[in-house]
């Protein structure tokens, strides 16, 4: 037991004396959370639009005011002819052009139909679609304002309620995602690096020629990282709650336990990686390419899994990150209990046991 304690203490010295490790451990979560929370978001704020108003009557001006009154659009410039539309887009900051033809009010009043043309820069298709939807919604609203409620003989009125995330905040998606990413990074990459470092520096040679058992060596290296990954999940949760007002509807205890579980899964992956390679460089490459990329792309955190081709969806199933993401969203946003998330939890447990078993079997009691 004394041996184990001393080993863990030694590991802590390594962590706290290496500035780079510390930076990755604590700087990374903060930067990522802030980046994803504030900067990288798919919501629309202050999209720059250009207006080509050819009628310049009160109706058309009210439409433009209506659109810019929301925080979604901001008029970047007024155009005076069709020819200016192309250059406006090409300059890059204008994402949407609203073209109001001449005699707008006249057509509306007398012909009962008025046309508005919306042009978007579809080089970014997602933004373009979102912009069109926003603009359409506003135009319809404006139309209703003008006409008042018209009783139609038959109507289908759709009432929309956004459940679990009524204000459609992107942060609610990113906090669990970033948490998954960071835990993967800290636990898997850092452990694989710390174990391969012993091999690279030759200290593993001395550790092997000692009474220490392989299990003891691995456990001693991993325990500090379990604690660290737990602290980091606390930091991310705290930031999510206080900075981004992310709710935790389910039980906090369950949430923390799940965090520890995922930390363990990632650690066991890290151990597995380190048992397959002898250099820190390779370990890092495997962790980054083999774990980080799939975690970002295939866990359903940036891109929805449902819209991916079938083979990729199947591949995503082997990623622990996918299951942890499901657990996080269910517990935090939907208030799910263990009964609702037992399946992903069981899958994570299974993966952890599997990875640990394989890596203990693969641990080399000799060099080469």
């Amino acid at each position: 037991m004394q041996q184990f304690f001393v080993f863990v203490r030694k590991e802590c010295y390594h962590i706290f004396r290496d500035k780079r490790t510390l930076l990755i451990l604590f700087g990374m979560p903060l930067v990522l959370i802030i980046l994803f929370g504030f900067a990288i978001t798919n919501e629309i704020h202050h999209a720059q639009i250009a207006v080509l108003d050819q009628s310049r009557d009160s109706y058309s001006q009210r439409l433009v005011r209506k659109m810019t009154a929301s925080r979604y659009f901001e008029v970047n410039r007024y155009l005076s002819s069709y020819k200016e539309i192309g250059p406006a887009f090409r300059q890059g900051d204008v994402k949407l052009v609203v073209v109001i033809p001449g005699r707008f009010a006249h057509s509306f009043e007398h012909e009962k139909v008025a046309a508005v043309q919306l042009l978007t820069d579809a080089s970014d298709p997602n933004t373009a679609t979102t912009l069109i939807n926003y603009a359409n919604a506003m135009i319809i609203q404006y139309q209703q304002e003008l006409t008042g409620e018209i009783k139609l003989p038959l109507t289908i009125r759709s009432e929309i309620q956004m459940v679990y995330n009524p204000s459609l905040k992107g942060v609610f998606l990113f906090v669990p995602g970033v948490m998954t990413l960071i835990l993967m990074l800290v636990s898997a990459m850092m452990t694989s690096i710390t174990i391969t470092r012993e091999k690279e520096l030759g200290t593993m040679e001395i550790l092997l020629v000692s009474p220490l058992k392989p299990v003891m060596i691995i456990a001693g290296k991993v325990v500090p990282y379990i604690v660290l990954s737990f602290i980091i999940s606390l930091i991310i949760l705290a930031m999510g709650t206080w900075v981004f007002a992310m709710p935790v509807k389910g039980s906090l205890l369950l949430l923390l336990l799940e965090c520890i579980l995922f930390g363990l899964t990632a650690l066991s992956l890290g151990i597995l990686i380190s048992s397959m390679t002898n250099s820190q460089q390779t370990a890092m490459m495997i962790s980054l390419m083999g774990l980080m990329l799939p975690t970002v792309l295939l866990s359903g955190f940036v891109f929805p899994l449902e819209s991916m081709p079938k083979p990729l969806q199947v591949v995503a199933n082997v990623l622990p990150a996918k299951w942890f993401n499901i657990i996080l969203k269910d517990v935090m946003l939907k208030g799910a209990g263990l009964r609702q998330v037992w399946m992903p939890t069981a899958i994570l447990c299974g993966m952890t046991v599997f990875f640990l078993a394989v890596s203990i079997r693969k641990f080399k009691i000799r060099l080469s």
Binding site: Q3, G202, V209, P211, R366, S368
Partner: protein, 304 residues
């Protein structure tokens, strides 16, 4: 029970024969040296004996324990200092020493008498990270760490490589003192001048042992007279001597050349005279272990 017994060990890495039919024994309390240039297979042999590598063929025992079957017990009982500095660079001297004491289930205090002489030399720097120590101090610390659990056999793989001459001498003084405590030591070195400090040495080259004997016997077994020669232009002298068929061997040795001949010295002098070497000096020299090693090496190369 002999501390180390090696019987017909073979080891290859792919096509490379690292060790070829190695056999030797180390006696109780003996300081046994493996002498040979880089690539002779010394480190591989150490790793086989410290249970880190498996031999392809042959047996070895350490303290009567089989290196394959009883590797766990061996790992508890031996002290091993690898060829490369393998302590934690970011830990201080104190922390390294305490760490290795604890993982061997002991304390620094318990065996302090064993490491006292060595530790006192590095104690003033106890709070300094191991990575910031000089080469000599690093090796002293590594020796302390290998000794702290009072090993029954000590394996030191090139402990003085990359260490300054003064520290090398100090290091060997410490080994002699350790020997008096009865710990058998297997040490390897590429330096010939350290060979004479061992009780017995095995001269190794290209994975094979050429000779095992005491340093004195190896020197005594060197049957030829050795001539020390010197001239102002040493490079030309070497070339001319090697070109002469009467010269058996010719190596630079400090400021002189050590030359053995298979003809009369007068013939060599007659050969050199017309070549006009300035400041030529020829005198008899006492053969050293280097001469023996060089000769053995040459013979082995001629066989191959």
């Amino acid at each position: 029970m002999l501390p180390i017994v090696v019987e017909h060990i073979h080891k290859s890495f792919g096509d490379l024969k690292a060790l070829h039919d190695i056999s030797f024994t180390v006696n109780e309390g003996e300081l046994f040296g493996l002498i040979g240039p880089d690539g002779a297979g010394k480190s591989t042999l150490f790793r086989i004996l410290t249970t880190l590598l498996l031999a392809d063929k042959g047996n070895a025992t350490v303290n009567g324990l089989d290196v394959v079957k009883q590797y766990r017990t061996i790992r508890r009982e031996v002290g091993y200092m690898p060829g490369r500095f393998s302590l934690y660079q970011d830990l201080t001297i104190e922390e390294n020493l305490n760490f290795f004491a604890t993982i061997f289930n002991t304390t620094v205090e318990e065996n302090y008498d064993l490491i006292k002489d060595i530790y006192e030399q590095i104690a003033p720097f106890a709070k300094r990270p191991a990575g910031k120590l000089s080469g000599g101090m690093k090796q002293k610390l590594a020796l302390c760490c290998a000794l702290v659990h009072k090993p029954k056999v000590l394996f030191l793989d090139e402990p003085t490589t990359g260490v300054d001459p003064v520290s090398r001498k100090e290091f060997w003084d410490m080994l002699r003192r350790l020997k008096t405590k009865g710990i058998p030591i297997l040490v390897s070195t590429p330096y010939m001048d350290e060979a004479i400090l061992c009780d017995r040495v095995a001269l190794m080259q290209k994975g094979a042992i050429m000779q095992i004997n005491t340093p004195a016997n190896i020197v005594a077994g060197f049957g030829m007279p050795v001539w020390a020669m010197k001239a102002d232009n040493m490079y030309r002298l070497i070339r001319d001597l090697r070109a002469f068929e009467g010269v058996y061997s010719c190596y630079a040795f400090g400021e002189y050349l050590h030359v053995t001949v298979n003809t009369e010295l007068e013939n060599v002098k007659a050969y050199l005279a017309p070549l006009g070497h300035e400041g030529l000096e020829i005198k008899p020299a006492k053969p050293g272990i280097e001469d023996a090693f060089m000769q053995l090496m040459q013979e082995q190369n001629e066989l191959a």
